[in-house]
Symmetry: C2
Subunit: 244 residues, 2 copies
């Protein structure tokens, strides 16, 4: 599915942007990179900026036209910073674009097309697209660096993919800590209340103060280990009360 | 509100990453940049990569410790690629982190903290944070370039800000085209049906075929201008039928 999602860079000027784009792609599970008449490629800068994604750079296909790059694609989304007068279907939200792209990529190749650093895509190139997408940005300064735009859109594509129904993507998590039982929590509350009274902080049982502190600790969701730690602290406080 | 959101870069090695991060920030409406003991700063590379965000670099505060950088902040989120054994509250989803950050930024300064390119943040530095966030990525290659991580998280922060209830952010849109009336659409359907019959494509009125084509055109949501264009084409086809 992600393998069906092609990133097409049209006439990239700086080879470093090719490398940085490849790295951005790989962090988001994409691998299919196609370059349309890059100004300077291959180039050491492309490899350097690619970091651990040199394989994507090495396997990148170089073609002579956008037509050639997307001929087999069922959806072609042009990333465009500026609005066009052409009434091509337009996604204001990259997240919405990503939903449709990932959906179509289940069966067929699809493409996300990026233009030149300074000039973006020409109107003829936009005509080769089925959709446009722009990245909502600061109205006073809204042009992202090319590889940053690739990173943001790839991030949204990866997000749509991992959150789709039936996805088996799981974030790496440490083994969850065991939670205390109600009885263990009750013992802790009683211990806390004893220490508050014995210290003189409360002169008598005070339900409101006690339950406020209980609520605070409840929000922290202490694990069993942490509750033990707190009980240990309370015991130490009981043993070292001033005046003993 | 966005002005209350501080980006803190800890011991950045490459000055180019400082510049590229500043650019990423500015595209997403952020302006407050603080550098904790950067290796090499100021530096021409920082200015060069900043592009139109040189003002952020020029105004960046340089401090000697993370403690100093975030002393006045009510929420400090550490961006961390790797999991820690410290049970700090952790956001799996940058979007969730952004909601809380933007909420807190209404009244007070908050911070998003990024570590060194190779080593991230130390455990001591994580202890200075109230939360951690990671960017879900390719399990086989999940470390984003520093300025790319800044771009992605800044993008989510800007998104949370512009989509909040009461936001007055509006994407730039061309003036919407005027839609045709039902009567104009009926005339178009009738014209289309006439041409289909006159051409021999339909030998008699065929409700199913006609309504299928009507549905296709309806999905395209033609504007008034486009409908005129289609009517003009149909008229030209009527005038040039073979055999006339």
């Amino acid at each position: 599915m992600l393998a069906n999602i092609r990133i097409v860079l049209v006439q990239t000027y700086h080879p470093g942007n090719i490398g940085a784009s490849a790295r951005a792609m790989k962090t988001m599970g994409l691998t299919d990179l196609v370059l349309v008449t890059p100004r300077q490629f291959p180039d050491p800068e492309a490899s350097r900026l690619a970091a651990g994604a040199e394989d994507l750079v090495a396997n990148a296909r170089v073609v002579g036209s956008l037509e050639e790059a997307v001929a087999d694609c069922v959806q072609v989304v042009g990333a465009s910073a500026r609005l066009r007068s052409l009434p091509l279907p337009h996604f204001d939200e990259p997240a919405d674009m990503a939903q449709t792209l990932v959906g179509n990529a289940a069966e067929d190749p699809v493409a996300l097309v990026f233009g030149r650093e300074r000039f973006g895509l020409t109107n003829d190139e936009i005509r080769r697209c089925s959709h446009q997408v722009s990245i909502p940005a600061n109205p006073d300064y809204g042009i992202l660096n090319l590889s940053q735009a690739v990173q943001v859109l790839a991030y949204e594509v990866f997000k749509a993919w991992r959150l789709r129904p039936g996805s088996d993507y799981r974030p790496a998590r440490p083994t969850p800590e065991r939670q205390p039982t109600r009885e263990q929590l009750d013992h802790f509350h009683a211990h806390l209340a004893r220490v508050m009274q014995a210290s003189g902080f409360l002169t008598q049982p005070h339900a409101r103060t006690e339950s406020q502190l209980q609520a605070l600790f409840a929000r922290a969701q202490p694990s069993r280990k942490e509750l033990s730690l707190l009980r240990g602290l309370l015991s130490a406080l009981e043993d070292t009360r001033p005046g003993d």
